[in-house]
């Protein structure tokens, strides 16, 4: 170890990995429906895409987690985003490609992607 910068570089790289373990109560939560219906419709790649994109964007206060059947199986994969101070946003028929935009525009920028939500789908 030759410098503080070198140490800081290791820390920053590892922060993304360990931030999974620091679930803050007031953080943003991304909940992916992972019941049989969700998995069959492709929720797993969506979940993994969220984990990776959130880390890549450096959003250490965002918690990516999963839940069971949300009850609207025809719209799976369903993803719910809970952001402090905002109403719950429900995204439907998600794909890994759509994930990138949600992470950038909503999680990072604070503006829900209206066209992916359940409101637009109906």
């Amino acid at each position: 170890m030759k410098s503080l910068q070198e140490l800081a570089a290791i820390r920053d790289k590892m922060r993304q990995t360990v931030s999974t373990r620091e679930a803050a109560h007031d953080s943003t939560r991304v909940v992916v429906g992972m019941a049989t219906c969700g998995i069959a419709a492709g929720a797993r790649p969506v979940l993994n895409a969220f984990t990776e994109e959130v880390a890549a964007a450096g959003l250490t206060d965002v918690l990516v987690t999963q839940t069971g059947c949300i009850g609207i199986c025809q719209y799976e994969p369903v993803v719910e985003v809970y952001m402090p101070g905002q109403a719950k946003t429900t995204y439907v028929k998600m794909t890994p490609d759509k994930v990138k935009r949600v992470v950038q525009q909503h999680l990072k920028g604070g503006n829900p992607v209206a066209e992916y939500t359940i409101g637009a789908a109906r």
Partner: protein, 596 residues
């Protein structure tokens, strides 16, 4: 990138109840389900709630699974990790309320805890230096080497008010200051005392198992402060997991250039070696520990000269305890004021206690100094099991004393404990209920010190043996009131004349039980009765003929063949044959057998 982390406790407690196999089962099941690119299994250090082991915590949800069995693993993986439904049935019951998951920090066990020394235990993989670095590991060493002079480091320790966590409570900064003269001109050593020997204490083991790098980092900081370049960790060989993880940590620190030559390119050199102790209790005493590192028989030597002047190999040396070291990196990073803001006037920061004995939540807890015994026992510890009454708590192990129920509201810090005739010690806290005989407890600790006395000085070698004989006389029902005076006189003599801390404190358990439970001693002597029903020589078992139905169960259970009687007729016990094991009382369905 893993979306979920499965933290399996790898402390000694959970390991002995099979957590190795559970971790393996998780890995296998996760592979079977094709989740091995998404979910990572990590072995951690102690979570603290050892009574509920083996413990598995799954993030990001923070679900706390307790008493996990191998056969539960498939269900947890299939339900929780695959389908996102935590298996409520297997979660720690305090974290589930009306079907909703509660945060661990809201449970009675964790709510009042403040984890400083244990900050990384259960949070990181102790065998991965990069995880330690992720939680600001080695940043304190970097700060010290690049921004602070050695004297500023010592001043920071003095300002923080940190006192030695191994027992004595000597101010750490002062110890360092005494050893700081002639930097660069004389060879000096930094040692770590990990020879944890008090019965029931396991906080040092847990720190080494859960966060070994914090000790390495702090020892390097200490070396910089006093001008040393070599360190030794003296750890007992009975702690194989701790020794292994510490060795892995030292090797990784060397590989990353955090031990060795020219650390952080500042010209500072420091390296570290492990010395294994063979388990002699006396080697936890500082001069005996150093004698043992030198390769000699572990016996204490007279002080002065103190180790800060003439220690290991005759050179100036500082010796701190594992828990003391674990506190140091956060003090450097967050400042002396932050640390001094916790605790009481003369005892700053937090203290780790190993809760054991008659308590529901056996385990490891860390609370701010000044927390009362009642909070620790009733709230964090969950109280006494089986509806029994709290009688006393023993702190400080064989060197300490007991705290009676009447003093349960005493805020715990170094000075309060000494004032009530006990001591902080390393932090073992053994809880006793109404079924505990205080004379028997005093005997237990004295037997320990008699066994562990190194034999170098007569007051300790012979004195403790004679003291034990006096106690045996009392529990055998042959004691006289004069014996009590003799005990007190001998105890004072041993304390005043022994060479080292072992002998000087050995009579403490006797003196403190005599102080608070004198009635119990007198009951043994005058009425030949043990009120708690423990001392066998004073017990006799009887069968009440009016309650006995003659079911013959007791006669069949008795291992000594002491019970006789025929079917449907009252039985009787032959007191000469009875070995007072109590098996008959447990079996009797009619409550006909009593002891007294």
């Amino acid at each position: 990138m893993y979306r979920s982390h499965v933290m399996v406790c790898g402390g000694t407690g959970c390991t002995s109840s099979g957590s190795d196999k559970i971790a393996e089962a998780f890995e296998n099941q996760i592979r079977t389900d094709g989740l091995d690119q998404e979910v990572k299994v990590i072995r951690t250090g102690c979570f603290g709630l050892c009574a509920l082991g083996p413990i598995v915590v799954i993030y990001p949800e923070g679900s706390f699974y307790s008493r996990v069995k191998e056969e539960d693993v498939a269900e947890i993986v299939n339900e929780h990790l695959l389908k996102g439904r935590p298996v409520t049935r297997l979660l720690y019951d305090e974290t589930v309320e009306n079907g909703q998951l509660k945060s661990l920090d809201d449970t009675a066990f964790y709510r009042k805890q403040k984890r400083v020394a244990l900050r990384n235990c259960g949070v990181i993989n102790p065998e991965n230096i990069e995880e330690y670095i992720a939680f600001d590991g080695y940043a304190a060493l970097g700060k010290v080497l690049t921004e602070m002079t050695p004297d500023q480091v010592i001043q920071c320790m003095l300002d923080s008010g940190l006192r030695g966590r191994g027992g004595g409570g000597f101010p750490t900064g002062l110890k360092w200051k005494f050893a700081s003269g002639n930097r660069g001109k004389v060879k000096k050593y930094v040692c770590c005392n990990a020879d944890e020997g008090d019965p029931g204490a396991f906080m040092d083991r847990s720190v080494l198992e859960g966060d070994p790098h914090s000790v390495i980092e702090a020892m390097a900081i200490a070396a910089y402060a006093i001008g040393a370049d070599q360190g030794y960790v003296y750890v007992r060989a009975e702690y194989p997991i701790a020794v292994h993880r510490l060795q892995v940590a030292i090797d990784q620190a060397r590989e990353y250039g955090l031990l060795g030559q020219n650390i952080f390119d500042t010209g500072f050199n420091f390296d570290l070696e492990i010395k294994l102790g063979a388990g002699a209790f006396v080697c936890g005493e500082e001069t005996a520990l150093m004698t043992s590192i030198e390769g000699n028989r572990g016996e204490p030597r007279p002080r002065p000269p103190f180790p800060a002047v003439k220690g290991l190999f005759g050179q100036p040396t500082i010796l701190n305890n594992v828990e003391t070291y674990a506190n140091i990196p956060p003090i450097i990073l967050k400042g002396a004021d932050w640390f001094a803001s916790m605790g009481t006037e003369k005892s700053k920061g937090t203290k780790v206690f190993a809760l054991g004995g008659k308590i529901k939540n056996t385990g490891l807890v860390e609370v701010p100094m000044g927390t009362t015994l009642r909070e620790i026992i009733e709230e964090i510890g969950g109280g006494i099991p089986n509806g029994k009454k709290f009688k006393a708590a023993q702190t400080g192990g064989p060197s300490g004393g007991c705290i009676p129920a009447s003093l349960i509201d005493t805020p715990i810090d170094y000075d309060n404990l000494v004032a009530i005739g006990s001591m902080m010690g390393s932090g073992g806290l053994i809880v006793m209920d109404e079924d505990t005989c205080m004379v028997d407890i005093a005997k237990f600790f004295l037997e320990f010190t008699v066994d562990e006395s190194c034999g170098k000085c007569t007051p300790c070698r012979v004195g403790t043996k004679r003291l034990l004989e006096l106690l045996n006389k009392i529990t055998d029902g042959k004691g006289t009131m004069e014996d009590l005076a003799r005990i007190e006189e001998l105890a004072a003599f041993i304390k005043a004349n022994s060479l080292c801390g072992l002998g000087q404190t050995a009579p403490n358990p006797v003196l403190s039980t005599l102080r608070y439970f004198r009635d119990e001693y007198i009951e043994h002597i005058q009425n030949k009765r043990c009120p708690a029903g423990v001392c066998k020589a004073l017990l006799s078992y009887k069968i009440d003929p009016t309650k006995c139905r003659g079911c013959t169960l007791c006669a069949r259970t008795c291992p000594a063949g002491a019970i006789s009687g025929s079917v449907k007729n009252p039985h009787s016990i032959d007191v000469l044959k009875c070995i007072k094991c109590g098996a008959c009382i447990e079996k009797c369905k009619f409550g006909a057998i009593s002891k007294g």
